[in-house]
């Protein structure tokens, strides 16, 4: 295993932990996008550029967007009386 894989795997673990550990939903949506970006780079390093394309767009753009849209229409917390 080269240094490249070690760095990318460590980044994947760190961004994955970031998704779990961030408690604020909007930050979580951005964190899952960062995780998707790292996974796309990992797939690229593993010589799977076709999968990297899909992961880049679906994981780093489309998925966070759907979460952000869902969050933007939710009322959170107690409604003020």
């Amino acid at each position: 295993m080269t240094a490249l894989f070690a760095i990318l795997l460590a980044l994947a673990a760190m961004t994955g932990a970031g998704v779990v550990l961030s408690r604020e939903p909007r930050r979580q949506a951005i964190a899952i996008g960062a995780n998707g970006l790292v996974l796309a780079l990992l797939f690229l390093a593993l010589q799977a550029p076709d999968v990297a394309y899909s992961e880049l767009v679906v994981g780093a753009a489309a998925l966070p967007l759907l979460f952000l849209v869902a969050l933007s229409v939710l009322r959170r917390g107690r409604r003020p009386r």
Partner: protein, 250 residues
């Protein structure tokens, strides 16, 4: 220690033991044990006249599986449209939904400028990825989602009104269906000429040329059209939810 916590500890140890036991039998990192990939790499270019073996597998050797995935995506997008399609946000001048206690922030100039610059470049790149599926990494699905993400940059650059006037759901619906239908229809080319369903019966062309691979090009284009329109439709339906009904009070 509560019962719940002790149960968790026991099950976690058991799950960890199972995971370690299962993973220890795997081939070492980077080692490829199966014969199929090597066989495809050896015969693929000769049989299908394409240089991207992933495309050869998805649109020829395993073309029938891709047909299933194609209809899975179609069904998913149709489901989203059925669930979310209502009067909300259909007018291009629909106002953003307001939620009490949450500020409504406009787009910054940096986001607008970046969106306007990235949209056309991403669009051209997506078309490039689609057209070169048989030569270089990429293909109908990958190029299709890149094209759809170019539409998102367009949204960030121009705002909701311009976006809705350009990316229209009534246009996307038939395009999505046509792409999906074309894939299945192309399969009948084999049956009509006395071969198997989805068999590559078109002339294969010269390896390395843009037009090569026979039926692969047709199937690839069908997937690209269906995926681009399907994802665009998904974005339209979701972003409509961020608008309010006409005359809605909040």
């Amino acid at each position: 220690m509560t019962i719940r916590r002790s149960l968790f500890v026991v099950l976690a140890v058991a799950a960890a033991a199972l995971a370690v036991g299962g993973l220890s039998g795997l081939a070492p990192f980077g080692h490829y044990p199966g014969p199929y990939g090597d066989i495809i790499n050896a015969v693929g270019t000769h049989q299908q006249h394409v240089t991207n073996m992933v495309t050869a597998v998805t649109f020829d050797y395993r073309g029938f599986d891709t047909l299933g995935e194609e209809y899975m995506l179609f069904t998913a997008v149709t489901g989203v449209a059925l669930l979310l399609r209502d009067a909300r946000g259909t007018a291009a001048n629909a106002r953003p939904k307001r939620i009490r206690g949450r500020p409504r922030l406009g787009r910054s100039e940096a986001v607008m400028t970046a969106g306007r610059w990235f949209a056309p470049v991403t669009m051209v790149y997506g078309v490039y990825v689609v057209l070169h599926a048989q030569l270089t990494p990429g293909g109908g699905f990958q190029g299709g989602v890149v094209i759809a993400s170019a539409l998102l940059f367009f949204y960030l650059g121009e705002g909701y009104r311009q976006w809705r006037e350009t990316v229209r759901a009534p246009v996307l619906d038939p395009v999505e269906a046509a792409g999906t239908g074309l894939y299945a229809a192309a399969g009948f080319a084999g049956l009509l000429s006395g071969h198997a369903f989805l068999e590559n019966v078109l002339p294969l062309g010269t390896t390395g040329k843009l037009v090569s691979g026979g039926l692969i090009i047709v199937l690839n284009l069908a997937v690209a059209v269906a995926v681009a329109a399907g994802f665009a439709l998904l974005f339209v339906e979701f972003l409509q939810e961020t608008r309010q009904f006409k005359g809605e009070r909040t």
